[in-house]
């Protein structure tokens, strides 16, 4: 089955079903999730469609559900999960649901407003209570003070709960007739209030205030606002009127406060009884509200799914055509050819459920339109398919790069990451993600969702990194010596070799000479890089050369593979002309230049020669292009000169073949018709040729990032070891082990953040770029559109 090699074959199908069975049929198709409805009314605006009222009703119901959910969450009532996901919402259910939603909303709004009024009353009563309690003392004090002196007092007494009670009332008869205004004001506003009073009345008043200290049981209000009680004693009614207006301006609530103590006490008892009553009423209201909300919460999930399904079904019905007789609905769907049977069975099932006598008619039609691209994926392949689709969805039935990406992408990542210790940590992390997938999805964090979607990609990246780490022989920047190094230092000493004890004392650097017998055993290290390179100071000279050449080899191989895939595309689309006009010159161009480069690299690696006289491959290549054979000793093998001349000439001949062959052939075919513009064809072909030929060179150089990133990773890893862990390892005194334990924690955290996260993201990005640009521009067109079926599972996952 080639359903993953290229996208599936799709067919356009006409469906006819009865209006009564429409809901059930579309419901069944939605559960199946394999069918994309085509819009048969593309010209109509949203509010001109047939079922726009129903869609609006569904949206209104969604709004009510959101309001309900908010209220439930605010009151900390848990919402139980819903397991009845297969219920089919009938059209008549919609009316029931609608009316019950409206009722619920009204009820809840009423409860809320009642509760707010009650709370307001309660706060007022509490304030009156406090006011009465505190003004008792003020009255006594102020009366006595004013009778003594006319001086206004500036110092406000704070928190006057303990003042001496004067039992004697000073007589109020006399020229002083005190009026007062009592009220409650917000604590922050009080200083401004006092200032304005001063400015207005120049101190002809007595102001007393105290802060209300809330008791613990008074948590009926949502946010306790700090308030102050104040009493202003003034003379005269006009001033009182002004003060009243001032209080209004400051939103201070004024309360009537009786003059004498007896009336005040009576008022207080009154207020207390009312407060007790209100407390009871408020408690009952809260309980009732909680019951209503719990009952609603039990069905909340079920209702939400139902309403969503209804909305989706009505939206789909809007895309279909309704027959004149209002009895028949015509729909056009795209569906994969291999799934036609299941679609048919689903429709029959749906119409049986609705009890209609006629089964829906399924009629496949031919069309010239381009079908959507559908790649059937499972949970493993979906990650790779999505990173391919992120760049461009493939054309209909074009070769799908995803199956090859499943291997090449983790491999190119691993070449750049190349450390078996870090690879192991990454693999274990990915394993944890895979095993606890549900737990992570529940967190509903965007970043974590992205990580979870790519868990198999990360797992493969880690596995491949362990492999390349073993090849590079690099584990947290240290090498493993499993098989015994092929180099040996002892033969360098006398009598075998040139070194003596004096050589050791004199020189800072020593050079192992492989020509001295016994230094190099003749058998290379069986797997990976020899561990002696890890402690050699010229390790980078060796590794750089090796990694650069390896990157070029991998790059040319990857690109040749891409060009070969374009051949498969041409054959599938029966485009044999393009095989001769495009594929063959492209392959010959690439092979003759860059294939030969690979040959030179491999030849130089395999053949034994003295390193001082070995020619540089770069210089060889440049001289080959420039036809420069003048310098001495620049041959690797005897017949090098004629072979190279031949290859360059062949490559140069490919360029006009690519440039002119195809346009000239098209010109001959369409000489008489004016449909094709020749200028366009020549320009297009010119652009393609230049892009390909120059691209060969630049893309090959671009693959050198495989070397650059692996060098950066190795160096970062080494720096981290030397600067962090080695500091603690070199301490051998008593507390060395404790310091080592602490330093190891820092080493671990830095490894994860810098080397795993930062370097991992960087290598991921570069490997992705190599695939998207260097690999895919050899064969991939990527201008299709994705198949988006009506699927209730996908809608539920997306919410």
């Amino acid at each position: 089955m080639d359903s993953f090699f290229r996208s599936e074959e799709m067919c356009l199908v006409q469906l006819f079903f009865q209006t009564e069975s429409a809901h059930n049929c579309i419901n069944e198709l939605g559960h199946l999730g394999l069918v994309q409805f085509k819009d048969l009314n593309p010209g109509t605006v949203a509010f001109q469609r047939r079922f726009v009222k129903e869609v609006k009703k569904c949206e209104e119901m969604e709004r009510i559900l959101r309001f309900l959910e908010n209220e439930v969450v605010k009151s900390n009532i848990p919402i139980p999960a819903d397991f009845t996901s297969e219920t089919i919402p009938f059209p008549r259910d919609v009316l029931d649901l609608e009316s019950s939603f409206d009722k619920l909303e009204q009820e809840l709004k009423e409860i809320n407003s009642n509760r707010d009024t009650l709370r307001q009353n309660f706060t007022q009563l509490m304030e009156i209570n406090h006011l009465l309690q505190m003004t008792d003392d003020f009255f006594e004090e102020a009366e006595s003070q004013l009778s003594i002196s006319e001086l206004p007092s500036e110092d406000s007494v704070y928190s006057s709960r303990v003042t001496s009670r004067r039992t004697s009332y000073t007589s109020t008869n006399g020229p002083l007739k005190l009026g007062f205004v009592a009220g409650v004001i917000k604590h922050e506003r009080f200083p401004a209030f006092e200032k304005i009073l001063w400015r207005l009345f120049h101190g002809n008043f007595v102001l007393r205030h105290a802060e209300i200290k809330p008791h613990e049981e008074e948590n009926m209000a949502e946010d306790p606002v700090k308030k102050d009680v104040f009493v202003v004693f003034v003379q005269g009614d006009q001033i009182r009127g002004k003060i009243r207006k001032l209080c209004d301006g400051f939103h201070a609530s004024m309360y009537p406060c009786p003059n004498n103590a007896y009336a005040r006490k009576e008022m207080r008892t009154n207020a207390n009884t009312r407060i007790e009553d209100l407390r009871l009423v408020l408690k009952r209201t809260e309980e009732f509200r909680a019951t209503v909300l719990t009952a609603a919460a039990a069905n909340l999930q079920e209702w939400t799914t139902k309403v969503k399904k209804m909305k989706a079904i009505y939206y789909t019905l809007n895309l279909c055509n309704i027959d004149i007789t209002q009895k028949l609905i015509v729909a056009e769907i795209w569906c994969p050819v291999s799934d036609l049977n299941s679609v048919h069975t689903a429709l029959i099932h749906g119409s049986e459920q609705s009890g209609s006598s006629l089964s829906p008619v399924v009629n496949r039609i031919q069309t010239q339109q381009t079908p959507p691209t559908f790649n059937r994926v499972n949970s493993f392949t979906s990650g790779f398919q999505s990173i391919i689709d992120a760049y461009g969805v493939g054309n209909y039935q074009e070769i799908n790069p995803a199956p090859y990406t499943m291997v090449t992408f983790p491999f190119l990542f691993a070449v750049m990451f190349g450390d078996c210790g870090h690879g192991l940590v990454m693999t274990l992390l990915a394993l944890w993600l895979i095993l606890h997938q549900e737990h992570f999805r529940k967190l509903k964090n965007e970043l974590i969702d992205m990580l979870v979607d790519g868990r198999y990609i990360i797992f493969l990246m880690g596995l491949f990194s362990i492999y390349t780490g073993l090849i590079y022989n690099d584990c947290f920047s240290k090498s493993f010596n499993v098989f015994g190094s092929s180099w040996s230092v002892r033969p360098m000493f006398h009598p075998h070799g040139p070194w003596t004890n004096d050589t050791l004392h004199d020189s800072g650097h020593l050079h192992l000479d492989p020509l001295v017998s016994g230094v190099y055993s003749g058998n290379p290290y069986p797997f990976g890089v020899d561990p002696i390179w890890n402690i050699a100071s010229n390790k980078l000279s060796f590794l750089n050369s090796y990694k650069m050449k390896m990157s070029v080899i991998m790059g040319v191989a990857h690109m040749l593979f891409g060009v070969t895939l374009s051949l498969v595309n041409y054959i599938f689309f029966r485009n044999l002309k393009d095989v001769a006009l495009q594929f063959i010159p492209e392959v010959i161009f690439m092979l003759s230049l860059f294939g030969y480069l690979i040959f030179l690299i491999l030849y130089k690696w395999c053949v034994v020669m003295k390193s001082e006289s070995a020619p540089s491959i770069l210089l060889l290549f440049i001289n080959m292009i420039l036809f420069d054979y003048s310098s001495e000793g620049t041959v690797l093998y005897r017949t090098q000169r004629p072979v190279q001349i031949f290859l360059v000439v062949v490559a140069v001949l490919m360029v006009p073949w690519l440039l002119f062959a195809k346009p000239l052939l098209l010109y001959r075919k369409h000489k008489l018709s004016k449909l094709v513009s020749m200028a366009d064809i020549f320009v297009y072909q010119g652009i393609h040729t230049i892009e390909y030929c120059l691209g060969c060179i630049s893309n090959t150089a671009s693959y050198l990032r495989l070397w650059a990133l692996s060098l950066a990773h190795a160096e970062l890893s080494e720096v981290l070891w030397k600067m962090v862990l080695q500091v603690a390892l070199r301490v051998t005194s008593g507390m060395g082990s404790v310091l080592l334990a602490v330093t190891f924690a820092a080493f671990a955290v830095l490894t994860v953040t810098i080397l795993l996260v930062m370097e991992g993201l960087s290598a991921f990005l570069h490997a992705l770029r190599l695939h998207w640009v260097e690999f895919q521009n050899k064969f991939y067109k990527g201008s299709g559109y994705k198949f988006t079926p009506l699927s209730f599972d996908r809608m539920r996952d997306m919410q």
Partner: protein
């Protein structure tokens, strides 16, 4: 009984991950040091004088290797304790979650 819970679930999870990693990696490092692996030569704090003392130099260097190795083992032991502590914290966190419900 006084509640010994002093870190949340995330800190405890981090603790146990780092502890397990520390135990494994430090134990392996300890083994490699005590078997005198040549690759780890730069992590051993030998001084110039040790190199010049012809008779004892090899044993001195091996002695230093062993010292660093034992340091690694002790640090691994410390991490075993930290792992046990983190595990206790995780268990207490789980229990607290169930009790509040």
């Amino acid at each position: 009984m006084v509640s010994c819970l002093f870190c949340g679930p995330k800190l405890a999870a981090c603790g146990i991950v780092i502890s397990i990693w520390g135990v494994i990696m430090l134990a392996m490092l300890g083994i490699f040091f005590t078997t005198h692996s040549a690759v780890l030569i730069e992590d051993v704090p030998f001084k110039e004088e040790d190199m010049h003392n012809d008779q004892e130099s090899l044993h001195a260097i091996y002695g230093l290797y062993n010292q660093v190795g034992y340091n690694c083992f002790i640090a691994a032991g410390i991490y075993v304790l930290v792992a046990a502590l983190s595990f206790c914290q995780i268990k207490l966190n789980h229990r607290k979650e169930y009790m509040v419900r």
